[in-house]
Symmetry: C2
Subunit: 289 residues, 2 copies
Amino acid sequence: MDVAAYMAERIPLIDRAIEARLDGLANGDEAIPSALAGAMRHLLFPGGKRLRPVMALAAAEAVGGPAAAALPLGVAVEFVHTYSLIHDDLPCMDDDDLRRGRPTVHKAFDEATAVLAGDALLTEAFAVLADGAEESEASLRLAVVELLSRSSGALGLVGGQVDDLAFEAAGSGSAGTRAARLASIHARKTAALFRASIEGGATLAGADPGKRAALARFAQDVGIGFQIADDLLDADSGEAASILRLQGIDDAKNGAEALLGRALGEIEGWGEAAEPLRALARFAIRRER
Amino acid sequence: MDVAAYMAERIPLIDRAIEARLDGLANGDEAIPSALAGAMRHLLFPGGKRLRPVMALAAAEAVGGPAAAALPLGVAVEFVHTYSLIHDDLPCMDDDDLRRGRPTVHKAFDEATAVLAGDALLTEAFAVLADGAEESEASLRLAVVELLSRSSGALGLVGGQVDDLAFEAAGSGSAGTRAARLASIHARKTAALFRASIEGGATLAGADPGKRAALARFAQDVGIGFQIADDLLDADSGEAASILRLQGIDDAKNGAEALLGRALGEIEGWGEAAEPLRALARFAIRRER
């Protein structure tokens, strides 16, 4: 399975869907303010790896559905991911001037516009999920609204960020306690959105409850493994990577491999259709090592 | 129709539903960070007039449904309204230290917590709408997710706030141009959420498309009239009220009365069931004059 080829084929579908959504807002009958449109686009084009939306599509395929069933969710999770980056970069949070080598949104525009662009992307994520659904799809779409809001809200992404800021500020406690707190933060800041993408993508493709539950566990492990991989890349580049200071690089690598193995075990025997999802899990956890 | 008695009867239903939702987040199996829970509650208890949720309930009744059908939306619109106040008060926006005589959220907590509490309330609004729906309700709930996200997003609340900040910063243009721009801002910052509340409440009660459309027009007029009433109250208290400086107090009062008359015309002949909604419209537009 050539994961790069799979991604190269799927990413344009996602990019076109994101583009169409932003165009509809910026150039519709009631256009949005141009500064807002610009700030919403800023981190989306050029964007990141689109890993979450590609996984949503692959999860739909893994349960026998068409990738296109998960496309609204692909757009929605990329909007939520982007909003979280914009707000995390704000002066009152991580105070970052650069992201992916370009000015952060509050630097390229201003702070108020950055807060509001994040707010708009979060809100539009739910609009995308609700929009254009057939009557017969309504209950699946609504289930995914629930999953995405739970993953993104106080119990998920937002709660994880609150604890992350408190963790950075405190800087004390035993290594064991700190490692446990970091794991809980990563589960909410990173793994929750992987879960919404993967379990949600399969849900939109009509997966049964057993497969949904297996993919929820798969996504949890892949999300944590992805975060460890991120920390290892930061360590290579000399940046602080706090879980590694607590755990050591070899332990982290072994831990990530164990998570990958357990994740792949969840979807063992799912056949060829699940091969892209397996390949993406390996890519997410082993990339550039 | 005693509007005060109607509100006194309905508000406890809404308060209990909001309380139950916040309690579920703060004290569930996976509890949220306590600072986040506190910041999310801060402007909700004690809260405001709960006008939007009461209107959602009254709209459900106006089309022959039970008020309870609109309760999830009542919670959701109060969450969205509260999130918008928290973010509008931030130092990078209106920089307000007080709201309803108490410290704003970024003063009572800190700026990062205020941004995140707003984010969480916005996200939970959609969780409330998705949660606990019967299979048979799914397409109505999804329609309301669409309505609320459209009203709250780049085309509605958020876009209105972006233009409002630009309007305050610019401070130039002819009186006519400025009045037209302010009207467009009020339509998005205020009327859009009234529309989501009222049209959405009726939608959840199973209203037909004709009644939904009439209530959308009703809500638009009531929302603009409510904003004018707010400006008139600010003028009484000596605060700046920009539309009045452009238009004059008598013109504003006449304009608000005309909007009320047109709104009531939209639901003429709807009988006793619509009486609470009529009374709330009068209250919203004529309060304390």
